[in-house]
């Protein structure tokens, strides 16, 4: 096993032409230092800072709306996508519904899972390109792309959380004659809500970073400006933008940690 890992690393080392000596030599390091030197001093003129604040808010808005959208998408199929609710398990022990109904339920389950897989598999940047193509440049396609991709990720996590809870209390509810919807609202939701919330907040932290990436394909915010700054060799503006990203990411991490501590 260790030999295999070492082999994998050696193969990758050669393949990527990773040259530690060259990188740390006077030449390589000098090249990087020269670039770093160009970044300073950051452009802190009031005019530019005002714009940076606006772009930062835009990125924040994209990440927030994208995450909310993704939570909505993930919650929709949580019912059919959870095996314990839709197909098998304690709730179905005395299941007397006929074959066609059962087949329909299994079909819904597989369909929901497949849809979530599809959403998750397509990288958000490809989604973003699709929506830029459809609705034009701007933050809106970014929100849609984040929402769909993250929706797939969260949907799978949500379904797993629901599958993981004990089914005995649910059976007790079922025994009192509760319908499946009532079981969901009174038996499942109260117990999984904190975990779903924690996952959503965690994905928000991821999404603020992704929102920056999406800017590259024209989905607005700081990312787009970074692309412009790099393409036009505006290094000092670039440093300001990077500082803004750093602040935004730290802020969202902090906010999400706070919310998690308060709400859970």
């Amino acid at each position: 096993m260790w030999a295999a890992i070492a082999g994998l690393i050696a193969w990758s080392w050669r393949g990527t032409r990773f040259d530690l000596v060259g990188l740390l030599s006077a030449d390589g390091a000098g090249q990087m230092l020269a670039y770093v030197r160009k970044l300073f001093p950051p452009d802190l003129s009031a005019d530019f800072l005002g714009k940076v604040v606006y772009w930062s808010l835009e990125t924040f808005a994209i990440s927030l709306m994208g995450t909310l959208f993704s939570v909505a998408i993930a919650l929709l199929p949580v019912f059919p996508a959870s095996r314990t609710l839709a197909v098998s398990g304690l709730l179905f022990e005395r299941d007397e519904s006929g074959r066609p109904l059962r087949a329909l339920r299994i079909g819904c389950f597989l369909g929901a899972r497949a849809a979530l897989n599809l959403l998750r598999t397509v990288p958000h940047i490809v989604w973003a390109l699709l929506f830029v193509f459809a609705v034009g440049l701007g933050p809106f396609p970014g929100v849609l792309a984040l929402g769909l991709h993250t929706g797939g990720v969260l949907g799978k996590l949500f379904a797993e959380v629901v599958e993981d809870i004990e089914t005995q209390p649910l059976e007790a509810l079922q025994a009192t004659g509760a319908s499946r919807l009532q079981i969901f609202v009174y038996g499942i939701l109260p117990r999984v809500a904190p975990q779903l919330l924690a996952y959503s907040l965690y994905r928000w932290e991821v999404n603020i970073r992704e929102a920056v990436i999406l800017g590259y394909v024209g989905a607005g915010g700081l990312g787009q400006q970074i692309q412009i700054a790099i393409s036009l060799f505006l290094e000092q503006k670039l440093l300001t933008l990077i500082l803004a990203i750093y602040l935004m990411v730290t802020l969202v991490d902090y906010l999400s940690a706070c919310l998690r501590r308060r709400l859970l």
């Binding site: 193969w11 090249q31 909310l68 490809v126 970074i226």
Partner: protein
């Protein structure tokens, strides 16, 4: 003499307490409305005729996926490169994250049982320890909070096109994440065993090696493998800015509006990620 609090005071207290959630809800609503506005959300736009047409064109163009032999052969190189970038990037990330993470582990360098005696009443020594600690933490946070995409962009400018900027970008940004998580894992270990080791006169390295690492190894390895899985996905995307791998091909196909090629690429990416998940699961079971 104690007076029981008046009824009015009770009511007042209740009222302020009831006010807080209302305020919070209002704040949330304002943030939501502001974000809605800033993100220029217009659901109607999706239903307009020409955007529907565009999407239909996009989706129609995706089928059938391009599975011709020439195209597939073209993809072997980028696919291999993507794997190599992810592996090398993760190795570099460990090289960056491990030392910084160790210095940034408070229970090892600054607080807690191991350091109580050494640092009590020695402010100069405490400062000498606190400074590297703060620097390591700060550095990790900068590495981590700038997305790998931006790092890749800058490295492409600094060292040129090719797989190398991809490796460096993943190394730096994932190094920041690994370092932070390593130090968190180490800080959450029980320190009693380490104290016993220290009492026998073990140096800090020995305490780390014989006391902490054996306890924490499964978690450390498991998280590193998880990051490798993420790195595969990331290295496929980094190609967009010219850092090699599949992303470069995705971008090319996108720009040429060859959506049937994009479908093939996404399928390939899916298979790759699934394979890596499987492999890392095996390694995890083998080591942990």
């Amino acid at each position: 003499m104690d007076h029981p609090p008046s009824r009015a005071a009770f009511l007042h207290c209740d009222r302020t307490r009831a006010l807080f959630p209302t305020l919070l809800a209002l704040c949330c609503l304002a943030v939501f409305a502001g974000s809605w506005h800033l993100a220029q959300i217009q659901p109607g736009l999706l239903l307009q005729a020409d955007s529907r047409q565009n999407m239909a064109r996009f989706i129609a163009g995706m089928f059938p996926p391009d599975l011709s032999r020439d195209f597939l052969r073209l993809l072997v190189g980028p696919l291999v490169e993507t794997i190599q970038i992810s592996v090398m990037g993760t190795v570099l990330a460990i090289a960056v994250g491990l030392p910084l993470g160790l210095v940034g582990t408070a229970s090892l360098t600054l607080t807690g049982i191991l350091n109580e005696f050494e640092l009590a009443g020695a402010p100069a020594r405490r400062l000498a320890r606190a400074l590297p600690y703060a620097c390591a933490r700060g550095l990790l946070s900068v590495f981590r909070c700038v997305p790998e995409f931006v790092w890749a962009f800058m490295f492409v400018r600094a060292v040129g096109l090719g797989p190398l900027p991809g490796v460096l970008a993943i190394g730096v940004s994932y190094g920041g994440m690994l370092g932070k998580v390593y130090s968190e894992i180490l800080e959450n270990q029980g320190m009693r065993g380490c104290e016993a080791l220290q009492a026998t006169g073990a140096t800090r390295w020995k305490v780390l090696w014989y006391g902490l690492v054996p306890q924490a190894l499964p978690q450390l390895v498991s998280y590193t493998l998880y990051r490798w899985e993420c790195a595969v996905r990331a290295s496929a995307i980094l190609g967009f800015v010219g850092a090699g791998g599949l992303g470069q091909q995705i971008e090319l196909s996108m720009r040429m509006f060859n959506f049937h090629e994009v479908v093939t690429l996404v399928l390939l990416l899916f298979l790759l990620v699934a394979a890596v998940d499987f492999l890392s699961g095996k390694v995890r079971k083998g080591i942990v």
